[in-house]
Symmetry: D2
Subunit: 292 residues, 4 copies
């Protein structure tokens, strides 16, 4: 089995690299703080001193980094990917970044003759550990096919979505629907409560019907308890709503429900809820005193 490079050993990356090792892949890892590589070495990984060194050694390299700045840094900085990427080598960025960042990286890789794939994932720590991520890949088809054995280990399903940018867009569309849903859900919980119904009963009824879904099941009980420890921070959800609306603006798509939900998230930011979980938008519907 070919040598696979792996950059970025945060919560997600570590679980993913471990899965590759467990399934027999030969993996060369790198992390900004190199000591985080130790545990993987115990399980058979090699270590690359720099991103460039990993690229040099491997046919293709996967990265999953914390944000656009980190994603750009491993490519463009000294000892970065650009120094060694070349014809025949592939680079797969699984970080969640905006379409612009993705395009910038893709163009730089291509200018050196390399192959590029953006492949953001849906799913967090647990699915990463269980190899149950959903992978939204876009870019070089050949590289997608080459990486499929790895994707099969990392995720329960991978999609090839066409040209670079489509992975990021798909994530935006999904998150936009999710953002509108959590607003509708919040409105329903408040309406139930103010109308003399038990919100917990609403959760039970919802969970037995046609719109039952994991998010309602997971967030409902914590929302009722005003517990908003951030799995996905509200300010990031609102940013995704904004970007989805901007994508709609480019394509002349009217999205009145998403727009109303976005304004609710902005309201939530304005009262200081931006760093809490996105389900904290519930709070702005609850605020109430009398009802003249």
């Amino acid at each position: 089995m070919a040598e696979v490079g792996f950059l970025g050993l945060g919560i997600m990356g570590k679980a993913m690299a471990m899965n590759l090792l467990r399934h027999g892949f030969k993996v060369t890892v790198w992390n900004r703080t190199l000591s985080r590589c130790d545990e993987l070495v115990e399980h058979g990984a090699s270590v690359g001193e720099t991103p460039a060194a990993v690229i040099k050694k491997c046919k293709y390299t996967i990265a999953i980094l914390s944000d656009p700045a980190a994603a750009l840094s491993v490519v463009f900085d000294k000892d970065g990917i650009l120094e060694e990427i070349c014809g025949g080598k592939g680079y797969i960025d699984m970080s969640t970044v905006d379409a612009d960042t993705s395009s910038k990286i893709g163009e730089a890789i291509a200018s050196k003759g390399g192959y590029f794939l953006e492949a953001p994932v849906s799913g967090s720590k647990k699915p990463a550990e269980d190899g149950q991520l959903v992978i939204l890949a876009a870019g070089e088809k050949a590289l997608y096919e080459e990486a499929l054995p790895a994707f099969d280990v990392l995720g329960k399903k991978s999609f090839f979505l066409g040209k670079v940018g489509n992975g990021a867009k798909m994530k935006l569309v999904v998150n936009m629907i999710m953002g509108s849903m959590v607003n509708a859900f919040s409105e329903g919980l408040v309406l139930a409560d103010k109308s003399g119904l038990n919100p917990q009963t609403l959760l039970d009824v919802l969970d037995l019907g046609g719109i039952a879904n994991p998010m309602f099941r997971m967030k409902g009980p914590t929302m009722i308890q005003n517990n908003y420890s951030p799995a996905f921070p509200l300010k990031h959800q609102q940013k995704d709503m904004r970007l989805a609306l901007a994508l709609g603006d480019e394509n002349a798509v009217s999205m009145p429900v998403a727009a109303a939900a976005n304004e609710a998230f902005k309201k939530a930011r304005s009262v200081g809820l931006g760093d809490l979980d996105f389900s904290a938008v519930y709070e702005i519907f609850k605020v109430a005193g009398g009802s003249t």
Copy 2:
């Protein structure tokens, strides 16, 4: 086992009465068109000539009728329930009616000393046949407890929600969330399409993630094919949005996402989509020519 009355042998009622017989209940049925009773008689049911006759014979009687007019008629008209209901007897209306109709019936029953329960259900033909309905009961607690063995046969779960009206309200809240969701879903499908993503792929991605739900799974493929044969007509969905918003108005609950969704449904009605399935709201987001 006590004799149970059963009024209304439409698609839902017939399946439900059959389930009761199958589980050993003694059932006396009535239907406006009496010939519809025949099949049930073959399975052991008795027949009552009028609603009043059924009430007279049974400890409690279940009804599931097509609309508020029919629900009122079996109670108030000649040979109706009011003629025989009395202390110790119960009447359970499982029709989907508005809170006002429900209250009117409840008060009339109570004035005769009878017990009343409203118990609208969530679920349609298939769950009715399979005994998998969700039952939203409200009214006389003692009657609820008396009817529990029947509810256990008819549904996978029943809830007692307190005073009469709460069953109808709970249904409104659920349908309001559903109506906002189908709008968010429609916006997402159009956004995907106009942004160069495959709507079918969006469905696949959604179905693997945290907001996967039966409605998206069932409606998505038909929406993409512009198939809107009505399971739940759009005009009824819009009416429920209106009633939910009115309930919010009474209780000073601001629901901007539901309001935006309601206006989209009204738009859909205005272009003649009211008799199609509620998922036809998708059509109004799709209309588009150029994009200057």
Copy 3:
């Protein structure tokens, strides 16, 4: 000049009856608290002991009462209008009431052979005193023409809008536009403020441009000072938004901007602003702490 009846001497009614007297009309007045008639008697008015007595004496009678309950009471209660109205006599209700109340009164008058006109006004105390009201009349055209000399004294302009109900509807449409405007205005004031612009300067700029209007001119300065002493209470404005949206619902008119404005007014009610001026909706846009 014919004898004109006048029922209701509140702030509006007293000013209007006085104007009629000043312009040479012979006026017979009635008020629930009869002592309020004294000042008008000094200026030449006669007094009727009951609404019925006024109707009996006059060719046509104008009423301007505080609310629907009062409007119904003078018609249907003992010694009310129905006791004396008959063929050849007219009744003009200038109260602001809903279309249902108006229709109920109109039908009762018609059943006795009388003529009916609803004629709600736009304008408050000052325009009433100055004879500068705008009169939105609907109902019996012949009665409108008979009353025109009086309307010319009471208002700067009167409209005949067709069948009963149209006067109330026209008022709703106007108030709906006004309600959306005061929301847009509030959003603009907050946006200016948070963006580092002086809200007072925004008022000055607005007042010099194409959307300059008396409401912005009058409400702007008080809104900036958080002064919301009620000229038109927010809860009444919200009620008119609700009724306008209901009218749109009946006619399948989608009104997303009005719906968004209505939800903002509901939010304002939910935090206890319902009894303040409708411009207090500004407060809900202002609430803000940080902005993560």
Copy 4:
């Protein structure tokens, strides 16, 4: 009186430069198509061969150009303003451009030691000819004061709004309010029409009341006649809504009414109305067939 430079002799610029000449200013003009200078020369203007030449000759220079590209070109291109601007000289850009363009120009001017003022105007051809513009100036206060005699000739009122960018922001806020208003107005016209009221009568009623304004007065009659020859193209209005909402996003200001209006404008763009007047948003509310 000092020599004033004037760049850009389009419809607005020509009228403005003519006003300056008429009031005794010595003006040196430049236009990309130099022949457009002839008429001004007949009224006493001098001609500069290039923007740089005008700057060199004059204490301060006013520009009013068609779009951001033209505004940037006269500054940064060969023979542009940067070649001659220096300490003691001022440059006043009265074009309508975005805040970024404005800042870019301002910084370039400042880096050469020059003074800069952005000064977009509210008002079009007629106010320009009549010296009745409203001037929204921001940037160097000293330059504002130096230019006041010119502003007094060009406009009925000028404002100094602080730092560069504030002029553009103020215009956005005003246009955002206007955009929401034209939507509310459209909804009202359709509601009137569908409810059996005459839209022309609504215009008459509105024009007599507290929300009467020049825009309703001017646009109402043409909207009713489906006449949308563009004074301000819908796509530009929508762009301003988008930018105002983005400004709100930066500052965590929730603007649900503006957001709903923006989606309506996007809908209008999606059906090909982008090049018509912004009042054409009326069309999307009108579309209707039946009303099930």
